[in-house]
Amino acid sequence: MSEVITPAASPAAPPSGPLHQRIAWHWRHNPKRELWLAWWALVVFYSLFWLMFFVITRVQPPPRPTADLAAQVHFFHVRHLGIPVGFAVIFCIGGMIATNNALIAYSMRRMSVSPAFAYSYLIMYSLSAIPGLLLLCIALIVGTLRPERDPEAISWLYDFAFLSFDGTMGVFLIGSLIWMLAILLDKNRVFPKWFGYLNLCNGLTEVVVAPCWIFRRGVLAWNGQIAWWLDMVVFGVYTGAFIYMLRSMILREDFGTGPLPELKPDLERKPKAGRSNAEAAA
């Protein structure tokens, strides 16, 4: 396990002053700097993700499954630069997926439940990045590569990409259930129970997306009101919630093994080592 260092005699509070000074102080002295690094990476990742998928590549919201071959070819044609450039950024920052998952796995390690939860989640979500994200980006890039390609081949890439995005949600379903179970069983009160139930809501949303493999039109198609729009709303709420909850967890973190203390107005409380250990022994 990681070694816990008694912090050197450093000031209890960060200095006020220009932002770069404060950031430098935190980098050097904040005992939670690893966690904050991971959290900020999470925020940066999702911001860039949203920007790349919705604005630069414009592959979300997804196009219609019912588009004819000419329309599909046209779809790639107008994005022949946006897609390779936007996804290039995604591929540069893709490693952040690992830090995101590491932070969430850490939250489960902080709980009173078995480490099996953390490891399962880590493995599942690391795996899911490939069929659920990276392969479909590759398919879309290949689609833009040669405008003179046979339209049938382009159509195959079109289907492959958009079905991969919606249709590989099984991993997120089970992953959400694992996190939910960990939260509901947890005695360390790392997260409130409602957040556990929200994981269930997110998991159910993934179930709802599965019919996209069956329907080419209507509410359950890969661009349908239920399979995509409503799913995005739920996912958006969920993502916002877990980013917020992880921040709250980091603020409360005392590096003990007992229940996590509640958030107090004065942040960055020094951990009372004696109390945490005593509670853990109970």
Binding site: W194, G196, Y197, F215, G218
Partner: protein, 192 residues
């Protein structure tokens, strides 16, 4: 296991965990969205929907609704018994609830099978897409309900457990499942 801080400030609190009520609210919102889409689609092709709805057997729907309402009654009785400390009857009621749920599931699957045989499948037309979708997602909620009932039984069994708040939380979930079904029933079967 029981949350000391919460029980001491009982006074004006909701039955069960407030967290569960948050979940109920969220799911209700999501289902409201589903119903909204349904009504919108229905308004666009009323003839198709009316004709397709006629294929549904109202009697089966009524039976299912009654069964689920009975299950709500039995789980409510269970909570009452538990509150009074009568864990034997409470446990029996919990199993009764599960029994009603099994009956519901059985009837539902029978209905689905019959509709499919008649040629009305998931992708037959818009109405049946909604029908199978809504009843399907409700079915999933019911399956989760079995897990919840399992937690309930686990609580009622062991003398060490019996956290009344958790018992009420489970019951709240169950009532939600029933409530959603009533809405689905009204929308799909009755409103013509």
């Amino acid at each position: 296991m029981s949350d000391l801080a919460e029980t001491t400030k009982r006074g004006r609190s909701v039955p069960g965990q407030p967290d569960m009520w948050a979940f109920v609210l969220f799911e209700t919102l999501v289902f409201t969205a589903y119903f909204g889409f349904y009504l919108f689609s229905r308004a666009r092709s009323p003839e198709l929907f009316l004709h397709a709805q006629a294929q549904l057997d109202l009697r089966i729907g009524v039976v299912n609704t009654l069964v689920l309402l009975l299950s709500s009654w039995s789980v409510a009785r269970c909570v009452q018994s538990a509150r009074a400390g009568a864990y034997g009857p409470a446990l029996r009621d919990a199993f009764l609830t599960a029994l009603f749920a099994v009956v519901f599931l059985g009837v539902k699957m029978f209905e689905w099978a019959r509709l499919s045989h008649e040629g009305n499948g998931f992708d037959s037309n818009d109405f049946f897409t909604y029908y199978f979708f809504l009843t399907g997602i409700h079915f999933v909620h019911l399956l989760i309900g079995f897990v919840v009932l399992g937690v309930l039984v686990y609580q009622l069994r062991g003398p060490k457990m019996r956290d009344q708040k958790l018992v009420e939380t489970c019951a709240t979930y169950w009532h939600t499942v029933d409530f959603l079904w009533v809405l689905i029933f009204a929308l799909l079967y009755v409103v013509r």
